[in-house]
């Protein structure tokens, strides 16, 4: 279980004499074991910062983050991360990249070759195990990165806009694929995106953030049923959720005029 308690993050001033940047402002959230939660918000609202704090890459300025009841202080193998940018190690083959977590556990090049080979098949990367990352398409690279995160069967999967750079078709395929994997292994997933539809398609719960400083505007439970039926993206319920999220992200004009 992941618990964020009144978490804030200040970054050091970017210019001399400027004020520190408040990137995340008193964010509180709880994510249950096996739950799939999306954080959606416009670019620059502090989504990556939240994920990096949960991963243990960034320190927390105020408040605290607990994972499995323990205070997060540094990265750990029970929290696997899939990054926004392509992050395969270019000096390793696809096979070695995917088996990297096992190699680190075993302290030598992994002996669990069957496990890696099976993961490669599952990910539809068969025949590419000897290739280097630069010889793969963007979608294949990201699938390999997900495979690398999954192979150690982590309890928690932290994903930072993993499909942001993919074309629409590949992205839809990857979403289906991710859900299938999740149904099977049931990790706790914290998935970051700026794509409203993506968040509704994937999540049990969508956390909507507002920009600068990043705050949680609302949390919406998505009752679209599991396993997801892909036709539901045309259903009225789906559109209702979409409208709900979009309204929070972009308040109707007359409302903001009244407020101003």
């Amino acid at each position: 279980m992941i618990a964020l308690k009144e978490v804030s993050k200040f970054y050091p001033p970017t210019a001399r004499g400027a004020k520190p940047v408040l990137a995340v402002d008193h964010v509180s959230a709880e994510i249950e074991e096996g739950e799939f939660v999306c954080i959606v918000g416009p670019s620059g609202c502090g989504k990556t910062t939240v994920l990096n704090m949960v991963a243990g890459f960034e320190s927390v300025s105020q408040g605290e983050i607990l994972v499995g009841g323990k205070l997060v202080s540094k990265p750990g193998p029970e929290r696997a991360v899939v990054f926004q940018q392509p992050s395969l190690l270019p000096w390793m083959t696809v096979f070695d990249n995917i088996g990297f977590g096992l190699t680190l556990q075993e302290g030598r090049k992994t002996r669990q070759r069957d496990k890696v080979a099976q993961m490669i098949e599952t990910m539809g990367l068969g025949g590419f195990e000897g290739h280097f990352p630069y010889q793969l398409s963007g979608g294949m690279q990201q699938r390999a990165a997900i495979a690398r995160a999954l192979i150690t069967e982590p309890e928690i999967l932290l994903m930072d806009e993993p499909f942001g750079a993919l074309d629409a078709q590949t992205r839809a395929d990857m979403q289906k694929f991710l859900l299938a994997v999740w149904e099977r292994l049931r990790p706790t997933v914290l998935f970051i995106t700026h794509d409203v539809e993506e968040s509704i398609v994937l999540a049990d719960r969508v956390i909507v953030m507002t920009p600068r400083p990043g705050r949680i505007a609302e949390t919406i439970d998505i009752g679209l049923g599991r396993p997801r039926n892909w036709d539901m993206i045309l259903s009225p319920e789906f559109l209702r959720y979409k409208k709900e999220v979009l309204t929070i992200l972009r308040p109707p004009r007359d409302a903001s005029q009244n407020a101003g």
Binding site: A55, G56, F57, K74, P75, G76, P77, R79, A80, V81, F83, Q85, P86, S87, L89, P90, W91, M92, F100, G101, T103, L104, Q105, G107, F132, P133, Y134, R148, T152
Partner: protein, 283 residues
Amino acid sequence: MGYSYMASDEIEAESAESALEQNVWKADKKAYRGYVPWLVAAVMIGLWWGVTALHLFPPTSLPSPGSVVHDFIVVATVGYSGEPLLTSTLYSLGRIATGFIAAVAVGVPIGFWMASTEWVFLAIDPLLQFLRPIPPLAYIPVMIVWFGIGETSKVVLIFFCTIPIIIISAMSGVKSVQETRVRVAQCLGANKRQLFRYVIFPSALPEIFTGMRVGIGIAWTCLVAAEMIAASKGLGWMIESAGNELQIGVVFVGIVMIGLLGYGMELIIRSVEHRVTPWKGKA
């Protein structure tokens, strides 16, 4: 309709295969790659020959290609001042190799250490920046006083001239590691040693290779200075000594030899680099 689709598929498959036979999959190698370097060499030698044939300069300052070839044959067979060209070449190569390999073996770990530990950087960086601008010739008296006039002083001179660039490239290689890659290893549970082995060291390799390529050039540049220390063999010694005796042809033989050997070493390092870091520039 179905038939026409099949037909067009077949045509496509056929043309794709014939394209394969023409090796289209090979990254387009430009035809001029094969001959431009040779063309440049030919033009240079042609110009050299033309200038000497027109007697624009006295032969004591610019010998003709023919007389340099003649001197080359003499130096290669009879030798210069009793030393055959091969002996001198091997001596010079040995000094360069020893000094350079020692500089890499010592410099790379120092660079890594400086990049990872701040006080080490603070301690060594001023020293390094202080040593860097000192010309090789200025070291000669010190080398003689400290290491005598044997092989040691020559090798140490090459070592000292080469090591700064190696240290700096190793250090900046480590510093240029992408944070995301470090994080990848950290969140998969890498300890410090594993982080270094699987992420930091491979990240630093391309810059280390660049440093080595610059370094080997510097090492050859130092050779003449190194062999001014009481040497009686070596290409640097041959150039220096023949110059004093106004045997300009032999000087040219030495210059051409150093140029060719330096070029050869560059090609070797380049091919090792290509093999060890095939991803360079692609990720």
